[in-house]
Symmetry: C2
Subunit: 332 residues, 2 copies
Amino acid sequence: MSAVTLSQVAREAGVSLATASRVLNGSDRRPAEGIAERVRLAAETLGYVANAQAQALARSTTGLVGLVVHDIADPYFSSIAKGVQRRARTHRHQLLLAATSGTDQLDAVAAFAAHRTDAIIMAGSRREDIDPRLLTELERYQKNGGRVVTIGQDWLEGAGAVTIDNRSAGAELTATLVEDGRTRFAFLGGPDDLTTAVERRAGFRAAVARAGLTPEAETVQGFDSQGGYESVRQLVARLGLDRLRGLTLVAANDIMALGAIAALRHAGLHVPDDLWVAGFDDIPNLRDFSPGLTTVRFPLEEIGETAADVALSGDHPRVEHVVGEFVRRESA
Amino acid sequence: MSAVTLSQVAREAGVSLATASRVLNGSDRRPAEGIAERVRLAAETLGYVANAQAQALARSTTGLVGLVVHDIADPYFSSIAKGVQRRARTHRHQLLLAATSGTDQLDAVAAFAAHRTDAIIMAGSRREDIDPRLLTELERYQKNGGRVVTIGQDWLEGAGAVTIDNRSAGAELTATLVEDGRTRFAFLGGPDDLTTAVERRAGFRAAVARAGLTPEAETVQGFDSQGGYESVRQLVARLGLDRLRGLTLVAANDIMALGAIAALRHAGLHVPDDLWVAGFDDIPNLRDFSPGLTTVRFPLEEIGETAADVALSGDHPRVEHVVGEFVRRESA
DNA sequence: AATTTGCAGGAAAGCGCTTTCCACTCTAGA
DNA sequence: TCTAGAGTGGAAAGCGCTTTCCTGCAAATT
């Protein structure tokens, strides 16, 4: 990547480097209009494009913000990413994206640190047992002036956060269903080390217990459609079709709920005639799905936007709290 | 973002800058193991993290690859992004993401050029009338040694590409349906300036004409779920419910097809009992949807991977061609 | 008329690295 | 024993910018 440099432009315009820099790349000192015009013309004819790396080095700020997600193809994360991207743009920042399908958040953070992003947004659902090296890396990053904001919970000292009240969401969803007169529940859960999944289940359990009930089953599967599907197969195997009737299945997220409904359909059970299913998140395009999924909405894009704002604007370690909103549709 | 610098490490280790650089940041010259060990220790204790900006400046290569998509929350693009991200990682590159919901691809490309990304992947569906300034910008970028690869069609001289045969896909899908004995067709189309949408429609038209038939309607709407929904409302208004029965609706993509099916459901029509619907792409999680959507599969993640490979490996202006695969499900 | 201000453009010192030379030591060949 | 050759580590010149001073000039002040 060679390219026209600022000094070529300066020479062409017959001015110094300093002047060229001042007119082209912003400064509080504005050279005289005549000169400025000459510089602009020279830049235009030569096709000058500022070198962001050099600028970053000189200014010691990069205009980059890093986002780490688990799986960018998951609508949950892609919605958040969309929000982040939108606000990053208004803050005149570029988005560096890392999808860490595995446990390699560490690599991603290290890469972002190397690129000296102005901020890092951690959207990957937190795992219960955080890799201590991740913590070390993030703390060092913060000490060097980098900002980090976590989405989900507020788990890092000195970092901003957009917290999501998964526990209450789980409890309220379940309580509402109890009020509907439901008495038999099962939870289709995600992996035990995923905080989001764990908290939603905790809320579910609390609400069920408060109603004096006992869940008939709890599964532990992947946090995706496949996980929902497998959960149902497991339930069918363990309880049998008949005992599934009349059950209310609370899935740890919408995607799992969708997978569960598909599995139920394949098993010959119909939602909501035979049993009920609810989820969390209210991912996009749920409206196209039938039966409409009863869920707890979290404004995903907005969460992304807020995260970007927290990361990129004035008062830093700020934490914004997001609560879910019960959305009643046909499935439960 | 201040941080520990290489020269601090060098001083701590009692060696020169050159040696420290050679030990820590890769070089064909490997300093003696004793010295190397000292440097590594110093780096470790000081918490050194190489400054990618400075490295980029010195090496004149950034290890960045830019991806521009229309809407990262659209499963079509997020799947591609997932593939790109995965391969970028194996090529040891970081992903710079720009979502240009509007016409501002130009800004995105300019930003990528400023950041001296090693390559730019244009996944945003091409518009029929390309902004000439976009072309200029991309050509300059290429002249400076940047690689660009386009996804969809091969519309830029000197660029790599992963071409998608939308026209054939449209034709084959339709032809297959004709073979099934369908005679009455309608096309639910995307915007007229979106090449993907236009080509799929062209294929559809050709196949219908070849069968000696005439489409009963063609709509022009957004390329999203909403567009599919609106298309159906329009059809209902224009043709009436009765004339919709027995029709085969070919939507310009899966998302539109899903929106269409939802609209039909709301209108009291059932797929596939009353009429049929088919789409394109085979986006993820379609399996959870009922009725299963008949579609033409394009391996989205794989397309992303290929694009990244074309962008980042040996022989450049390479073009890979992707053809769709008919997938029969219940909806048509 | 003599001085101070105010502001302009330019020279040059970094920003944190990589890499080319260079000087040097040590081994091996004659 | 002498010299060529093979390696070593280090000095220093960039990479393309920003920004601090500095100098010089014209306008403003007495």
